[in-house]
Assembly symmetry: C2
Homo-oligomer: 380 residues x 2
DNA sequence: GTTGATTTGTTCATTTTCTGAACTTAGTGT
DNA sequence: ACACTAAGTTCAGAAAATGAACAAATCAAC
């Protein structure tokens, strides 16, 4: 389907997916084409069902009609390999989840491909239009993925080394498949479906048992030279600090991840199983809880401040599943960011907090497929 | 001149400037064009004097002829406002310096524009071909420059605030002018003329009285949302450390800049005026000198390690003017990088040291003009 | 040597894509 | 009702890219 589009058509689709609904004249200017050329391209895309007319904007002269991507011109499946059972969702081009189910997690890529293929019919059952226009599968996993978004170079969690997962799934299911690291997938989903749509450069910091991070730079996901951009979790924050499972000492991961916070609490004899518990203890004046949250928050804030200093992003989006960011932890994080950023910049970089639901990873996975559908492999 | 090129021609020029000499067939594949189209575009550019044939590569079949940019198809002037007197150079598209002179530094942008305009005739005097093909002026300065490379948003050194320097010079001299931050200019010059030509993502760390840093990401200079990407000097490296002139505490700048190293030496009663002096003292066993170099080196190494973790660049290029990197300081920096980078990556990111001469800034400035000539303002 | 294989690069008729200019359409302001 | 404005369309002609056939320059093999 995407292959049938001409290069101008694909460029247009990309511009709209980045800038939102635009009038034909605006699009012509953005692409540097004449109104005449634009007219034809838009007509073709509307006939193909890719675009549709939305609101009419009244100004002086003839009103302009905004064109937007038709949300139901393509559907995507997203699977998260971060949970067991693995969630599997079906969504449209707007990221709206249409169907949801789960499949057993496995470490064998062939078993995964099999489970996905077997799961597809029931996922698509009630949605014949999606069945017809299913345009890609996306898979999110914890680990390193190469720049073709096809091979998992390494994953500790799944115990993988150079696994061509995308190809395996593609061959078994017959559907275009792309894989991506979890944090990077969330960044793409925020850019495509979420609150970072209009921002060209931003970073996502995902806070969970581990700490993930990914960057969008100049409108593109930046993966780094070895696919390792955003490995903020293993920045040294407390030189000479506690040993980390990575082999170094004092990594951010050893102080600020939910796992670390819980472990520190346990070590201090606190009966806490979640961030909320610790926050509660801190609010009642428990010194150990306060100390732990302070330490974790300062470390995370410092790391984010360093990120801001180094990359000057237009937004920091902190996503977290557990607890809330309104307590001591969040306050300390914000404070630490403020005090460690060049005063000239302090407060200039918006920090947005987003509490995410159980669909984040699967939706992120689907967004990878959507991204490849919209932008395509060739970025000419 | 550049405006006369068609969009395909400009694309081709960009590809060659990024990838070096290529055969017509290779270029056709890279641009996704047919050999037929390529043939015509290449012929036109050769006729225009922009490209020329270089070596012939023999393989099986008809040998291929590599085309490269004609180094003398355009000339550029570069001026560094970092020194007094300000160096002013004339160079070709390869970055080869053809003429060199200097002009008095001033804080008044109009005086600068005047000095540049007055200096041009004598700079171009012995080079009539350059006079004819002078395609741009570049200016490097210490401070923040906006993304149009036209306005200096802020410069402490020059005491400027929102100065439209490029426009002022352009209007006075009649020549296309662009300005850029010093570290970013060096990064561009390394990408265009230097040793980072074939690397898509890399960072330059420039070590002098202050510490500068700039990133190339996916083949493009990344300036950051407020033009502040690369402000590594004000990363907090020693939390709660010495106060910095920026208003925070423990910035990298307060420990690892040459200025800081010299000040710390003075404070310790060492009679040192240069890095070499301190290195010498350290080599003779002076405890204070060793301590200072250790502290400075560890801090810089840690900052670079953080940069590697966050951005995973394909190369770190450390440029420095003073002293050498073979002594204790360099050793400690390298060691600190190694120990603070994810073990999986240790040694994976090449660290290249480059001792630079007095022309760096001016050549960097010229490269900004060259970059705008090659890539153009519109990156469509 | 001569022949065949191989790959680069050119030519040219044809097709695709884009433009410029005139025109239609759908409003606003008076 | 009238001009005025800007969006979007139409269509002939210009520009750019393609495909296929071909010329050119080498290697490799007999």
């Amino acid at each position: 389907m995407n292959a049938l589009l001409t290069s101008s058509q694909r460029q247009l689709v990309r511009v709209i997916s980045e800038s939102g609904p635009l009038s034909r004249t605006e699009m012509a200017n953005l692409l540097g084409l004449s109104k005449a050329a634009m007219s034809g391209i838009a007509r073709d895309l509307i006939d193909l069902g890719v675009l549709h007319e939305t609101e009419t904007v009244y100004g002086q002269g003839r009103p302009s009609v905004r064109l937007d991507l038709h949300p139901e011109c393509a559907f995507f499946v997203g699977i998260s390999l971060l949970e067991d059972p693995a969630p599997m969702i079906l969504c449209d081009l707007n990221g709206k989840i249409i169907a949801r189910q789960s499949m057993p997690l496995s470490r064998d890529p062939h078993v995964i491909a099999e489970a996905i293929t077997e799961g597809l019919p029931s996922l698509l059952e009630a949605h014949p239009e999606a069945k017809e226009k299913l345009s890609g599968i996306g898979v999110a996993l914890s680990g390193f993925v190469d720049e073709t978004q096809a091979n998992c170079v390494q994953s500790t969690l799944l115990n993988w080394q150079d696994v061509p997962l995308a190809r395996i799934i593609r061959e078994r299911s017959g559907i275009e498949t792309f894989i991506e690291n979890d944090a990077k997938a969330v960044a793409v989903s925020e850019k495509l479906f979420g609150s970072a749509r209009e921002i060209q450069s931003f970073s996502v910091v995902s806070l969970g048992d581990g700490i993930g991070c990914a960057h969008f730079i100049d409108g593109k996901l930046y993966r780094g030279n070895h696919g390792g951009a955003g490995e903020i979790a293993h920045c040294t924050i407390e030189p000479g600090g506690a040993p980390c499972r990575c082999g170094k000492r004092g990594c951010l991961d050893t102080v600020s991840s939910m796992k670390a916070i819980k472990e520190m609490s346990r070590a201090e004899g606190l009966e806490c199983t979640s961030l909320s518990d610790i926050e509660y203890e801190a609010s009642t004046g428990n010194a150990a809880a306060i100390r732990i949250l302070h330490r974790a928050g300062s470390a995370l804030g410092l790391a984010i401040a360093n990120l801001i200093q180094i990359n000057d992003p237009g937004l920091i989006l902190i996503t977290h599943v557990e607890g809330s960011f309104d307590g001591l932890f969040g306050t300390v994080v914000n404070q630490a960011i403020e005090t460690n950023v060049l005063p000239r910049y302090a407060g200039q970089t918006p920090i947005r907090i987003k509490r995410v639901d159980g669909d984040v990873w699967a939706r992120g996975a689907a967004s990878i497929a959507a991204h490849n559908f919209l932008i395509g492999p060739n970025t000419n």
